[in-house]
């Protein structure tokens, strides 16, 4: 499968409706810490619900909106 060789990409470049799993969150700032605390941990399913300057992502069963620039710190593996 080509899946395994594909690299994780920042959620900020995902399209609307794209889904996959979280690979990790980079950065030691409070936003990164809060994202982890609300469950954005490696292996958790993720989907992009809205794109634009403010994006909406679904992490497990919760939905969060954040800026596109901030969403770049979340890396995910897009499902084929």
């Amino acid at each position: 499968m080509a899946y395994a060789t594909e690299a994780a990409t920042p959620l900020s470049i995902w399209g609307r409706g794209d889904e996959g799993t979280i690979e990790g969150i980079s950065g030691a700032n409070q936003l990164a810490a809060r994202l982890r605390e609300v469950g954005a941990m490696p292996g958790v399913p993720v989907r992009v619900l809205r794109v634009g300057s403010t994006v909406v992502i679904q992490v497990g069963s919760s939905r969060f909106c954040l800026r596109k620039t901030d969403a770049a710190c979340i890396k995910g593996m897009k499902a084929a």
Partner: protein, 726 residues
């Protein structure tokens, strides 16, 4: 016998306090309202201005206890000032706060994984814990199955399934809460964190009095967040040095906080393996489908505008019958009082001052209630977070974030809670910038001002599909504040409060049917607050203004009109009425208020105002609703015409000394724009001073708003006249 009674009666002081905690949007407030009802008191935490809500709850065995509603938080690792309060209370750090005997944690069953994070932290702080598993119906509808008894077994604390909005499971919850509080059942600590962390934390805790191991563990893990910095500051340099040494010992790669989250989620996932069946975690819900439309860049913004226009139109059209009946009621009271009180200063004070003034303000109670009905519905159904999302786009260019939108939105109700709500903003510069523009949002106290002038001067005509010109004017006035706030915030962020844009993270809760109890409570509290203000601040201001408008009584004027009346004995009633009106007008003009008014007339004339409007606006600097009361008093002292018994009629018939009408559409608009922009609220300025700890910010707020208000009113008046609306 006496002993018996003393035994049974639990004294108010020292009775149990239970804290209600949980993630935002878990139905925490709905549960709190359902349990405490009208017994709740809203105040502030001592020394800080986060809203503190306490209610009374009677439990089966132990009687009355206090329930304390804490700000929603995702974690005990506090990142903003309001989360800090919640954590401080639970850790027993807020000394003036009564000690917490137990914690009631509310979980969202449809979001169980995330909700369990704070539970895993709460299990380690040595307080009895009860878990209320809320929104099971939502979870069930999505095909999520939760085994509550198994969850209880894993956590080692009682788990009670409830549906707060339908009041289901509350009796069982009370019973269990009663048992837990009485026995003080502390969960046996089965920490998911390494034993070595606890050993180190305990060592540190032993060296300082009044410091618990739970507390030292938190500051050990929380590197440099709001909570850790606060504790270090509080316990001094020695503590800081010890903590630093300890961190160096335990912490090899400076990622203790990440390790904590990892360990907790590992434990949560183990628990959920046994407890939760969720066949499709990434399902598309009805909320998602709605959001495709409601958060759409074009359709979403358009629906936002339509929703707001509908709200403002309803404020007018729905309130009319209720306002008319209040108007009639005050008319009857006024007539009745006039009949009983002897003519003179006392009768004038009660009838022209209190009844005409305060009554003129109280009339707007229905509109205040309708405004809060909509605010409460939009908040409770989950729409507000979407509005914040849409507004982030507008706020980012001015250097603020959608986070600032929530406080700004609260400011539409009242700037005071709005300024307090800035505590959710982590960045201090963003926080101050938000506070400084918050008073530009049209608060509910401006509503009576808009309502009286729109009602009297803006034609009630239909523009398009049930949206009328009056509603649109009101909508436009609300927009004035918003559109002025944008450049003001931008300038502030470019000059005095220069800084980097801060991150923005906001949860979008699922849409739900608003809870009747929660909405009702919001309307009740704001209505009561409005009446209390009318009965205190507005009443006092009205009496002062009445006195200024009534005194001094001129003997010469009275004598002149007495002789005039004697000369005209037998003349028709209209002639006598005209005479009385002339006397009243002359009396007002030579009163203290009239003299002051003429002194300031040159200042307000460019705005199209006469001295009466100028004085009413000046008197409204402590609190803007005063203008309605003062106009009521001035016009009921200055006129005796039966036709103008209502303030609206009095305004319509007011004339300049040369007989021209004082009011026309440009004048009404100029007054409303002035009130939309002016900083006429002492309480707001005081709160800004308290929140920032510096006088320069409220002073700056006052100066820039007042200057903008004058310019805005001037431009509006000139533009209106140029367009031929006069």
């Amino acid at each position: 016998m006496a002993m018996d009674i003393a035994d049974r009666e639990r004294p108010y002081v020292g009775r149990a306090t239970v804290a209600v905690v949980g993630n935002p949007n878990t139905g925490k407030t709905t549960l709190f309202n359902a349990l405490t009802g009208l017994s709740q008191r809203v105040g502030n935490f001592p020394g800080v201005t986060v809203e503190r809500k306490v209610g009374q709850l009677t439990l089966p065995d132990i009687g009355a206890i206090d329930l304390l509603d804490l700000p929603g938080t995702y974690s005990l690792s506090a990142k903003s000032p309001d989360e800090l309060i919640a954590v401080e209370v639970m850790m027993g750090l807020l000394k003036s706060e009564s000690t917490i005997q137990a914690v009631l944690v509310v979980l969202d069953a449809s979001n169980l994984r995330r909700s369990l994070y704070i539970v895993s932290q709460l299990l380690e702080i040595d307080l009895p814990l009860v878990v209320a598993l809320n929104m099971l119906d939502v979870a069930k509808a999505r095909g999520i199955v939760i085994d509550a008894p198994a969850l209880s077994e894993h956590l080692g604390v009682p788990v009670i399934p409830i549906q707060a909005n339908k009041r289901v499971g509350l009796d069982e919850l009370k019973e269990v809460l009663s048992r837990v509080v009485e026995k003080g059942m502390v969960p046996s600590r089965k920490s998911v964190l390494p034993q070595s962390w606890w050993v180190e934390a305990e060592q540190l805790a032993r060296k300082y009095e009044g410091v618990s191991t739970g507390l030292t563990l938190r500051v050990l893990v929380d590197n440099q967040n709001a909570f850790a910095s606060h504790v270090v500051e509080r316990f001094g340099d020695d503590f800081a040095a010890d903590l630093h040494a300890l961190r160096a010992q335990v912490n090899v790669d400076d990622a203790l906080a990440n390790r904590e989250i990892e360990l907790r989620y590992r434990w949560i996932d183990e628990v959920l393996d046994d407890v939760l069946r969720d066949p499709e975690p990434l399902r598309v819900t009805r909320s998602d489908r709605l959001d495709r439309f409601l958060t759409h860049p074009i359709w979403g913004s358009l629906s936002f505008a339509v929703i707001m226009a509908f709200v403002f139109q309803s404020i007018f059209s729905w309130a009319v019958p209720l306002m008319d009946s209040i108007d009639v009621l005050f008319g009857v009271i006024g007539g009745w009082v006039s009949g009983y009180l002897p003519e003179g200063a006392l009768q004038s004070m009660v009838v022209d001052g209190v009844i005409a003034g305060v009554g003129g303000v109280v009339i707007f109670l229905p509109q205040i209630c309708i405004l809060f009905l909509f605010i409460a519905i939009l908040e409770d159904c989950g729409y507000m977070a979407r509005a914040a999302l849409l507004m982030d786009r507008l706020l980012t260019p001015c250097g603020l974030s959608g986070k600032s939108f929530i406080p700004l939105l609260s400011s539409f109700a009242c700037a005071i809670p709005g300024v307090m709500a800035t505590r959710t903003i982590n960045d201090p510069k963003d926080r101050i910038a938000t506070m400084l523009v918050a008073p530009l949002m049209s608060c509910s106290a401006r509503l009576p001002v808009y309502a009286i002038f729109i009602g009297a001067f803006i034609p009630n005509q239909n523009v398009w599909g049930g949206i009328g010109l009056q509603g649109l004017t009101l909508f436009a006035l609300y927009c004035v504040g918003i559109f002025v706030a944008i450049p003001v915030a931008w300038i502030l962020k470019k000059t005095l409060l220069r800084g980097q844009p801060t991150p923005f993270l906001l949860e979008l809760p699922s849409y739900k049917i608003p809870d009747v109890g929660t909405v009702g409570m919001r309307i009740y509290q704001s209505g009561r607050h409005f009446l209390e203000r009318a009965g205190t601040l507005i009443l006092a201001a009205t009496i002062v203004m009445w006195a200024l408008a009534y005194f001094p009584r001129s003997e010469t004027i009275t004598a002149h009109y007495e002789s005039e009346r004697e000369r005209l004995v037998g003349a028709p009633e209209e002639v006598l009425d005209g005479l009385r009106a002339k006397e009243a007008g002359e009396m007002l003009r030579q009163s203290f208020l009239g003299r002051m008014g003429h002194a300031i007339e040159p200042v307000v004339e460019p705005l199209g105002w006469d001295w009466r409007i100028g004085m009413a606006a000046l008197a409204s600097f402590p609190a803007r609703e005063v203008i309605v009361a003062v106009l009521g008093t001035i016009y009921s002292l200055g006129e005796v015409d039966e036709e103008s018994a209502s303030l609206r009629g009095a305004l319509r018939s007011a004339t300049w000394s040369d007989g021209r009408k004082v009011f026309n559409i440009p004048v009404a608009l100029s007054i409303m724009v002035f009130f939309a922009l002016c900083a006429q609220c002492v309480s707001t300025l005081a709160v800004i001073q308290r929140e920032t700890g510096a006088w320069r910010w409220p002073v700056l707020t006052f100066v820039y708003m007042t200057v903008l208000a004058y310019i805005g009113a001037f431009v509006t008046y000139r533009l209106g006249m140029a367009l031929g609306w006069g």
